[in-house]
Symmetry: C2
Subunit: 336 residues, 2 copies
């Protein structure tokens, strides 16, 4: 499979490789005659420039690396999709990797992206920034964090306001009369896991709600841990009357358990999910959720990377979060 090089094009067009290159990259100093011959030759041979050779010379790949924790999570899939679309619109390609929610695989993917010499990276990070991430940052490669951040690491980021989302959710439950609220937390190796849990604890304190340690189940953002958390909370001697989960996959797990046990959501137990996934509108009853905007996160992240690449200063953005009230939350049964 010998591929067509610019030499072949130049030879067929009867010009030098320099001229061929100039024509093909739109350099102004080319004659109409040469332009025509080179373009004809290129299309006839089906010439496709070798991106390796080009970026080796240019020290630029016009490619940004995207690392999400798990594409199977609809929230991250949406981010990945919009990032890919916006990048394409800006004339850049994207290399998408999936860390499978593992710090080890995160490091391997970062190494891969680094040796592919991406011009910048958009990352949903985890861990303490000690591994390959540190190296990348000392290298000065433009990086933007999305959804998550890392403490003490000064990287521009686009996140959502975890605090008010949780606060609104708890207030909503309190207004409905709930005093005993369970929480399925995300992993504490992630900033979102930590911030959401902290916000939950503060809200519990502010409203003087039941504050038993067993009301918080420590999950890992995967569906299975949401199910485990659901079981643990429902099996308590004094189970909560409402439950919050810290991401969409754990919310799924939680709902599965409720279905398994025929717990009537909205009456037996109020449930608030995280992320406004389409499917949450279809469950019965439709789920009250803390909504934020993955699409906007993705487009903003690309804008920020482009600004960084252009040498412009960027400031981190924090998007707002809103509570979407549907049927899965209702007044406490035990209360009445």
């Amino acid at each position: 499979m010998h591929s067509v090089t610019i030499r072949d094009v130049a030879a067929l067009a009867g010009v030098s490789t320099a001229t061929a290159s100039r024509v093909l990259s739109g350099h102004p100093a080319t004659s109409p005659d040469a332009r025509r011959k080179v373009v004809d030759a290129a299309t006839e041979l089906g010439f496709r420039p070798n991106a390796q050779a080009r970026s080796l010379r240019m020290t630029r790949t016009d490619t940004i690396g995207v690392l999400v924790s798990d594409v199977r999570n609809p929230f991250f899939a949406e981010i990945a999709h919009t990032v890919a679309q916006s990048a394409k619109d800006a004339g850049m390609a994207t290399l998408l990797c999936d860390a499978n929610e593992s710090i080890d695989q995160q490091d391997r993917s970062l190494d891969l992206l680094l040796s592919q010499r991406v011009d910048g990276m958009i990352v949903t990070p985890q861990g303490d920034g000690s591994g390959s991430l540190r190296q990348i940052l000392t290298l000065g490669l433009p990086v933007v964090f999305v959804d998550r951040t890392i403490d003490g690491v000064d990287v521009p980021s686009v996140t959502s306001d975890n605090r008010t989302g949780i606060e609104d959710a708890v207030r909503h439950l309190v207004d409905l009369g709930h005093r005993r609220i369970g929480y399925v937390a995300g992993p504490q190796e992630t900033s979102t896991g930590r911030e959401r849990l902290a916000a939950f604890r503060e809200a519990v304190e502010r409203h003087s709600l039941d504050d038993a340690p067993e009301l918080v189940y420590q999950g890992d953002f995967q569906a299975a841990s949401g199910a485990a958390g659901g079981r643990a909370l429902l099996d308590l001697a004094e189970p909560p009357t409402a439950v919050l989960a810290a991401d969409s996959l754990m919310t799924f797990g939680l709902l599965m358990v409720c279905q398994e046990r025929a717990v009537r959501i909205g009456t037996d137990l109020s449930v608030i999910g995280y992320d406004d996934i389409d499917a949450f509108r279809l469950v019965d009853p439709p789920l009250t959720v803390i909504a934020h905007d993955p699409g906007r996160m993705g487009t903003l992240a690309v804008e920020m990377i482009r600004a960084l690449l252009a040498g412009q200063p960027v400031t981190s953005a924090v998007l707002t979060t809103s509570l979407v009230e549907r049927g899965s939350t209702g007044p406490t049964r035990r209360n009445s």
Copy 2:
């Protein structure tokens, strides 16, 4: 940001670049002394080989391109995820692109992957294979189709048995007494769209069911068209008593409309969805679906690409499909 090259490593280690390269790529003819010095120098400098330069020389990138129609579709997200994982296990990287269900973007993505000089591609194709796809195939680049194929194009593929899935679904509905079944079809530019529709039509004929043209709504595999199809079918003078949708996103749309109109699924209307998404277990009632296995498709596709790269012959695989009966299908109301 001047990156560390193998020259820097060689200089620090006090050897030539050739020796440094040999050590780093595990060539046997190296002395223990040189090995130690080079490895030390490389780690000290944080050397990371430039993949561009390497693959330019080696004419191999150890990277496979993956093109799915839309990562937001959970079915394709799962394929992308398992492909990435299996490829990683095999020591290969993956470049993931998203065609956004558009033939135009499919061609652009293929061009991108081609200039990245991927060693092979795994594609969920659409269209007639006339654009960039033809060029890639005449180039002899190893390609494997997943889920979908293209008529008259001889490429190994891993698909699922669309026919029996639909047949089982229709038989199940017939057994429940349904005689008037609606169908929300996928785009006829895709093989899955065509095969499933053909299978549906044949099943309708075999069972001598109502065969009005308006019972088939032509959708495009996106959620919005599922909703439009749902409305069209429900608005018929004589609406169907059961509906099938040809993929998961359209099934979502269909369910949304049912919810909007308070159609009681399983009693007012039986619904069968396509793809066994977790969320379909949670809707009320749990959805009867035609299930197939995206994870297995992904791993098989990687195995096939590896075989092709090794010059071994491969034969296409067709995976089985099964009907998972849940609560969304029930006996006809009008029948009784």
